[in-house]
């Protein structure tokens, strides 16, 4: 402080510019270092997935596969019915995503736009579920599905999504809906539109980034879910990809090249969807903001 105020204005400005450049340089270096740390496990995964059994067990490890053992992929694909698991996963994912988007946007609309008594109270109650540990609801929910004879079907993994789709999604959409000018839906109401029509024709088209964010969030949640399928699906014909990969681990515990190829196949679709949609995904959250 003392030295800064002691120096001349011109040199002080120079110093500030130089310092800013230095700061940017450091930030840049740290970003690159961080990226390397984040990407190393993935690079390790991919290189292991295209190596032969002999090459994968060389220590210290090599980074360049020689020869390129692309056959690990078809091998993993045929030893485990991945296509069936993929189909099962999608059978759960599609209706669950639709249910989440539909019911969470309905609720978000009521919280963001409609005036009704008890609105804040109901919203507050729903918000508490954000902090509800899933283990405390696990056993009774399982017992109910079990008594309904619906264990070993996809129903327990799909139907809950149709009941509000989770408070986090409702919260996200509510925040986004509130940024849309009210004049738009008021003019629609004057033209005789009912609330559902306002949501469908006015709010939803203007909320595409937020709706896509919610859709991707819920799709990833189904894709990545492990405990749900583990508890509800017993029959290996009904396994999802996550469960299938787990049974693969048990069967081929030392065939690391196959395990890596299988893992890559399970995570690749999630990564690809994320990369395509991340424009909405990340901005949908950051722009919506977390302010109450």
């Amino acid at each position: 402080m003392a030295t800064i105020s002691g120096s001349g204005t011109a040199s002080r400005r120079m110093g500030a510019a130089a310092r800013r450049r230095l700061g940017q340089g450091i930030a840049y270096a740290l970003c690159i270092l961080g990226s390397i740390i984040m990407l190393i496990p993935l690079a390790w995964l991919v290189r292991s997935s295209v190596m032969t059994l002999g090459q994968i067990f060389i220590f210290p490890p090599q980074w360049i596969p020689d020869p390129l053992a692309l056959s690990n992929y078809p091998d993993a694909f045929t030893t485990v019915p991945f296509l069936l698991y993929f189909k099962n996963t999608m059978t759960i994912l599609m209706p669950a995503v639709v249910g989440t988007v539909v019911t969470s946007s309905l609720a978000a609309f009521a919280f963001a736009r409609l005036r009704w008594r008890g609105r804040d109270l109901v919203f507050g109650f729903l918000m508490t579920t954000l902090m509800l540990p899933y283990v405390v609801t696990l056993i009774p929910t399982f017992l109910v599905w079990s008594h309904l004879g619906l264990v070993n079907t996809f129903v327990p993994l799909i139907l809950p999504a149709w009941f509000g789709g989770g408070i986090f999604n409702i919260f996200l959409l509510r925040q986004f809906f509130r940024t849309i000018p009210r004049e738009l839906d008021e003019s629609a109401v004057i033209d005789g539109a009912n609330p559902i029509q306002v949501l469908w024709y006015i709010i939803a088209p203007l909320s595409r980034p937020a709706l896509i964010t919610v859709a991707i969030f819920s799709a990833l949640a189904v894709w990545n879910d492990f405990l749900g399928p583990l508890i509800y699906l017993n029959d290996s014909n009904k396994f999802t990809l996550a469960l299938g990969l787990n049974s693969f681990v048990g069967l081929y515990s030392s065939q690391w090249q196959l395990l890596m190829a299988a893992s890559t196949m399970v995570l690749a679709p999630a990564v690809v969807v994320f990369l395509i949609a991340q424009r909405y995904f990340v901005e949908g959250i950051t722009l919506t903001g977390m302010k109450g």
Binding site: A27, Y28, C31, G34, S35, M38, L39, P41, L42, W44, S48, I58, F59, P60, P61, L106, A107, F109, A110, F111, L114, R115, W116, R119, T129, L130, M131, L132, P133, V135, V136, T137, I139, P140, T141, F142, P160, F163, G164, P195, I196, W223, N224, F226, L227, L245, N246, V249, W256, L259, A262, V266, V271, L275, Q278, V282, T288, G289, M290, K291
Partner: protein, 313 residues
């Protein structure tokens, strides 16, 4: 007179119309929130109450429940070493992973809030690991931690350090899983980033005018302005860490020697492998109470360290 009557009549119907309009709006609102409210009742409140009641029963999955009062809790606290072991494992893991994950996520978010080129690419890379299915990252890290052929021991070898047993060692298994958790902090990072972007620029400019450096900006503007977000992330990551399951189930099966027997893994085994629904419900309720108490303590303390814009709260 006639016109006057009409006017009062008109006023009456319009005010009557307003209340019916209000009523109709409320009706639509309840229709819209009906699925969410039903879900709240059927998937949250109902099961919480039910699991509380079930926790007082002996309920083998294959037969019918019968009331045993506090027996499950008594057994848990007095004669179940695995209960204490799993509680200890989950606590130690949480004590390590929550602060480290938050610090790392915060540091990454601060980096991404700088004005440098290629920011969207860095943001994507930092976020990417958090969208990877736990099962896939668990398999990947098993191989990563492999004592004989894994990458981590190869890196240690470069520095002339001895090989470690990582997840196959009773002392290193929890630190290893904490290290793994730091890889997936992208979600927390994004929430920090959203908070950072909401910090008004003029506050930083004020620090600059006063001759403050980057450290002053961080410590006197960024951190205080972000305390609400820190609170949010803290509570959610405590809840998440105490419920760790998949990594332990896939990578270590609780081993070696129960050193990674996480609480939820023990609960899962009790409920779905041994079929003891009553005892498992008691386990679930103990964790529930622990989480509620911890959350209340954190929120209570927040009055002292969380800064809310626009006055004291």
């Amino acid at each position: 007179m006639a016109t006057f009557d009409l006017r009062t009549l008109g006023a009456k119907t319009s005010s009557g119309g307003l209340t019916t309009q209000r009523r109709r709006e409320a009706m639509w609102a309840w229709l819209c929130v009906a699925p969410a409210v039903l879900g709240f009742a059927l998937l949250s409140v109902g099961p919480i109450v039910a699991s509380f009641l079930i926790s007082f029963t002996d309920w083998p999955i294959v037969s019918t429940p019968h009331w045993v009062g506090l027996d499950n809790y008594r057994q848990m606290f007095t004669s179940d070493p695995l209960f204490w072991q799993s509680l200890k494992v989950s606590f130690i893991y949480s004590l390590g992973s929550v602060p480290l994950d938050m610090l790392f996520a915060f540091a990454l978010a601060v980096l991404l809030n700088q004005k440098i080129r290629g920011l969207p690419i860095f943001r994507t890379i930092f976020y990417l690991p958090s969208i990877i299915p736990y099962i896939a990252s668990s398999v990947l890290f098993m191989w990563f931690f492999n004592p004989d052929f894994g990458l981590l021991n190869a890196i240690l070898g470069v520095f002339g350090l001895p090989k470690l047993q990582w997840i196959y060692s009773t002392t290193l298994v929890i630190p290893s899983l904490i290290l793994m958790s730091m890889w997936g902090v992208g979600g927390m990072m994004i929430i920090f980033l959203a908070g950072l972007q909401g910090v008004p620029r003029h506050l930083y400019e004020a620090v600059e005018v006063d001759g403050g450096n980057a450290w002053h900006k961080l410590w006197h503007v960024t951190v205080p302005m972000l305390t609400p977000v820190i609170l949010f992330n803290l509570v959610l990551s405590i809840i998440g860490a105490l419920q760790t399951f998949t990594q332990a189930y896939v990578m270590t099966q609780g081993g070696p020697d129960n050193a990674s027997l996480f609480y939820v893994l023990y609960l899962y085994r009790t409920a779905f492998q041994e079929g003891q629904m009553g005892y498992a419900s008691a386990l679930a309720w103990v964790l529930f109470v622990i989480i509620v108490v911890l959350s209340v303590l954190v929120f209570r303390s927040s009055g002292r360290w969380v800064y809310y814009e626009g006055g004291e709260k």
